[in-house]
Subunit: 337 residues, 2 copies
């Protein structure tokens, strides 16, 4: 796709600080000369009966057509009769894998300087089935569903990703000593896929032990693949190791080759519209989108510009202890491109 045509991509600026940080991405893409034309879609102001949520049918169609998109934070309005925006996107677009590379940022000091791993989270089932009920008064149950199909799909993606990115090891995270059948099936699927990738080392790590090792020696991990809730927990833990959700990119891989890159932090309504937000996570997510499209050269240039700006430390937003506005930091990144 590096050949001169223009790519159409969907952009969900999202709520709160979303539009400001999306603006930053647009500026950076302009300066880098990325040939992308955005189809912008905002969260609707009323429930669309076709999506049962505040997302419009048209916005979902846009992603399905373009197969590539970028998403800012979306806060689900409170109330009944509609679905969570994030969960609706995952379900409707079949976003089966959430991929989060997590690397220590040179120059931005945390307690860890050796984080270099990728979490790959199953994104559609498990503890997120939504199936719950009261058995009798005071006794409730919720169902965790694991399927062979979704487990194979995410395992395939994890090994494919590891191979394509020169990674050496895939660790499946589980609690199959307790949930023998559900997590057991997940592991069985991972093992089946692992056999097809003899060049990748495969191991299985129990989630409690995994979390302990992550806080002691995150450098021991490479690619981690896991059911939905463990992925939710571990991906945020890993983000914490390198400084938080304001610095970690993610992208969601969906049915039919969809790639929806996403900043997973909140919409920070308290600082919305004040030119204070940190656009780094959305920029880095946009870089993942570029790599997915094969724009590796532009991705590298933007990625390096972000790393350099943060590393130099002159322009940093308040959440990183700096004094820069969103626009000054964005300009600094642009100047480094």
């Amino acid at each position: 796709t590096e050949a001169g045509e223009t790519i159409r991509a969907t952009l969900f600026p999202g709520d709160g600080i979303g539009p400001e940080i999306a603006e930053s991405v647009k500026q950076v893409f302009n300066v880098a000369g990325v040939p992308i034309e955005w189809e912008e879609h905002y969260v609707g102001t009323e429930v669309d009966p076709r999506t049962e949520s505040f997302l419009t049918w048209e916005s979902l169609e846009s992603v399905r057509r373009n197969k590539v998109g970028l998403k800012g934070p979306m806060a689900t309005p409170i109330g009944k009769g509609h679905r969570s925006l994030n969960l609706t996107l995952r379900k409707e677009l079949g976003l089966y894998a959430n991929v989060r590379p997590c690397n220590s940022l040179p120059g931005y000091k945390t307690r860890y300087d050796d984080v270099n791993l990728v979490t790959i989270r199953e994104n559609t089932e498990g503890e997120y089935s939504g199936l719950e009920h009261q058995v009798v008064r005071g006794v409730v149950e919720s169902l965790k569903i694991i399927t062979r199909q979704a487990s194979l799909r995410v395992a395939e993606y994890a090994f494919h990703y590891a191979k394509a990115n020169g990674r050496e090891r895939v660790s499946a995270i589980h609690k199959a000593n307790i949930m023998r059948k559900t997590d057991g099936l997940f592991l069985k699927c991972c093992r089946e896929v692992a056999e097809k990738y003899p060049e990748i080392t495969y191991e299985e790590v129990i989630i409690d032990n995994c979390c302990m090792t992550l806080v002691k020696n995150p450098g021991t991990f490479d690619v981690l693949v896991m059911p939905n809730l463990y992925g939710d927990i571990i991906s945020d833990l890993c983000a914490g190791l390198i400084g938080g959700l304001g610095l970690t990119p993610s992208c969601n891989i969906g049915e039919g080759g969809i790639c929806l890159a996403e900043a997973v932090h909140g919409s920070a309504p308290d600082i919305s519209g004040m030119n204070l937000a940190n656009p780094t996570a959305l920029m880095l997510s946009a870089v993942m989108m570029l790599r997915h499209l094969g724009f590796d050269d532009k991705a590298d240039r933007i990625h390096n510009a972000i790393l350099q700006t943060i590393s130099e430390g002159k322009y940093r937003t308040a959440d990183l202890g700096g004094k820069s506005s969103t626009s000054d930091y964005t300009k600094a990144v642009c100047d480094h491109i």
Copy 2:
């Protein structure tokens, strides 16, 4: 109970390194003049039909009678037709709360020096129900059960503990934004109990956010209370912050006032019998048992002796980077009493 009588307590030395580290505790107790008479029980060599596990009925009866005990690591033998030793103990003794104080050890350097928190884990239900089945081929489900009774009981214990130990805040950890009914009921119970303790600040923290905050700023937490699996994950994460399971004590509170203190690390068969094991976690667990019995004075003396020995750094076992044998380290602790 400081009044001169002898207390009978059950001792499960456990497997692997268990007997060696149990020996260390006995020595330390002797030197400190703790008036405890141990009833020692080993894991059986065959399944006891009355417990459906390798635990003997007599050993469970011993804990029920004494209401206080200390437990080393127990590896469940592999095979069918019997239950996990740890899960059997929890179930049969109604061990509803697992309590783990987690404090940075002065002089033993990790990436964190400001950890001072306590995790309180519901220990009997949730994701550990054991209820799982295959719905159709390739689709399996497991049931997470939350009951009002068990949630109230562990919440009561957490607030009681916080108050008795001069703690200021209790954080309930959950994922009620996804598991609205199960984790929702857990939170509802915590809120009910919180109302009875107006002097304790109560807050609710989503588990992914909790793990991120723990690795960034563990100092923000005080007492954490949570359902079974979250407790399993977070208590090991917290242990990692201060150096691992070899350094963290725990105790289980059970029905009828049972207190079973427990080292939660493994039985380390690779170094078993070699006089290399670290008895610290079991010693610190024994200290928790002493506090439970009201032997605060002896508990303080032993606790300080352990902290001083580790802090001086001259006698440390191999897992802490030292060269001491179990017996030399134990002797050093005894000398500090």
